[in-house]
């Protein structure tokens, strides 16, 4: 360090400012203080060994990346990271894999076969869906998917 103009002792007001700053230093802002609440996946900073990956992979916030994730991962992101960009990308990726969201059951459905009935109001047939309570995929035969419960907003 250099002080080409010579050191100047701190004035009284600066000493007092330093005291305030020092006590604030012991309770620094936490990353979550300036973020929306994360009900399930909270931030718990911990000093991990440097030979572990410290930052997420580059481009891991793109749709292409999400499309490479396992369906179950996408469901996890969808249900446990509400209101985030991750949730939005997961929903987009699921839609690309022909999953459709049912707004009444709040579950994702995928046709298991061509529906037996298709009309203006609904379609009926065998579906695979993801049960977030049992946390697994289930099959449902003779299910009626009413279109009024179909989430069909354009995700852009």
């Amino acid at each position: 360090g250099v002080a080409p103009l010579g050191a100047v002792p701190l004035q009284k007001e600066h000493q007092s400012q330093f005291q305030y700053m020092e006590s604030a230093f012991y309770h620094m802002p936490h990353p979550s203080d300036s973020e929306r609440i994360r009900p399930y996946v909270q931030r718990t900073p911990y000093p991990t060994q440097t030979y572990y990956i410290q930052a997420p992979l580059p481009l891991s916030d793109t749709l292409e990346f999400y499309q490479r994730l396992a369906t179950e991962t996408l469901f996890f992101v969808f249900y446990y990271m509400e209101g985030t960009k991750a949730q939005y990308l997961a929903a987009k990726a699921l839609k690309k894999q022909s999953w459709r969201f049912h707004t009444k059951y709040m579950m994702w459905f995928q046709r298991h076969e061509e529906p037996k009935v298709i009309n203006e109001e609904y379609e009926q047939g065998t579906y695979i869906y993801f049960d977030y309570e049992k946390w697994g995929q289930r099959k449902k035969e003779g299910f009626t998917f009413e279109y009024k419960y179909l989430e069909d907003r354009d995700l852009n």
Binding site: P4, D33, S34, P39
Partner: protein, 544 residues
Amino acid sequence: DRTPFGPTVHIHNGVLQVRAPNYEDPPGLVEKTDFLLREWIGIYNSQPQGRDTTKQFTMFVHQMNVHGILKTDDLITRFFRLSTQICVETVYRSLTDKSVTMNLTRAKIYHTLDAFVKLVALLVKHSGEANNTNTKVHLLNKVLGIVAGCLLQDHDTRVIDFHQLPYQRIFTMLFLELNSPEPVLETINFHVLTAFCHTLHILRPCKAAGFCYAWLELVSHRVFMGRILATTPHQKGWPMYAQLLIDLFKYLAPFLRNAELAKPVTMLYKGTLRVLLVLLHDFPEFLCDYHYNFCDVIPPNCIQMRNLILSAFPRNMRLPDPFTPNLKVDMLPEISYGPRILANVSIMITPAQFKKELDSYLKARAPVTFLSELRSNLQVSSGPGVHYNILLMNALILYVGSQAISHIRSKGHTPNMSTIAHSAHMDIFQNLAVDLDTEGRYLFLNAIANQLRYPNSHTHYFSCTLLYLFAEANTEAIQEQITRVLLERLIVNRPHPWGLLITFIELIKNPTYKFWSHEFVRCAPEIEKLFESVARSCMVQKTL
């Protein structure tokens, strides 16, 4: 500070209301507020996250009406003050409760504060008629003033037990709420930005040092930076953001100037460097425009911090590699254009009498006494460790330089090594170089080096000036100091300003300066090695 005007009046009123001595509330108001606030927190948190709260809000406003809170402006502001204080008290109580984990404590705190913030945001949004922006903005300013007042009061009474958390969360979340993509909010967006900037200025680290880390988080929040620097048209947010950075630099200055950084200072300093890096990468034009104002408040020894600012250049410009052999700076088209300087340098030259004498000397190149009195005009006796008026020095150098450029142009020439010589302007510079003591000359040369940036007329003029002063120096001490100022800005880590590199390379490469024959180059083996390594990196290496 000036007397507040415009929207700041309401903020200041809010602050004053909290800080007024013996502030008494009508009987029962505390209880009513407490009851209503807890009711609202309950309602808000029984809702699933992120759901629309409009219906609950309408019912709640009805309840507030029933309790007479919305009757007068005074009662509303009292309600906000009491609510803020109740929320903050709740936070302090949670923080002392060691029986639960910190994650749970935080969740509890966030639930309380977020509910309060939502209430404020909804009240601001729905106050007055839909298209009456005045009422909304007025209310927002009032609330921000009240929260700021509570903060200052809390800060001064709790001293080392003060916590930044509740205030940081209220400000951040309120800012995010008011920047949601909604038409009503879009129309008042600039007012919202202004209100937050004023509030942050009132709460600048000099005034609330215990809030400094949260303050920097707020100032550097990505949404805040984006809104104020990128999305607001016509760069209308830039002056406000520049003011906040100046507040930060001014606060840091006394701590940085002594170069012995305690941990709390280092932390804030690192944060500041990060903000500057973001600005250099994303908003270089902003740093270009305000470089003068920033360099004025950054202590001379903060070399890297200043280099970050001086290295900024407009994004549409392509800088020629300074290491290109036989680079002809004179031939670059950019050097005929002056940079934008958003500081009124001319009025910073005080007193008025000195300015008058300066102008008449520049015109008539007389009387010579002006030169001999220059030094005493720049010296100050007050204050320990400071012997010169640095602000005046900086203003004088830039003013004389830009006057010189227009003078040379008015005669149909362009500035170069011969046209800059033998003029009233160069008299002043040469006189300063010779007549000032080491400290004064250091500040003088720094003021010149602060203009060595991207290719523009100032960079070119001051680069020639510095080289001319080196060539014409009557003592080796001046040359040594010129070398020192250039070198100390180059031996730090990147980035290095383009004009600085150009000037230094010219100095060591051009045989007319006989750089290598000077004694100071070989005064010590480590200095000699240093020069050799710099020379190597300047002459050969291309991939720096």
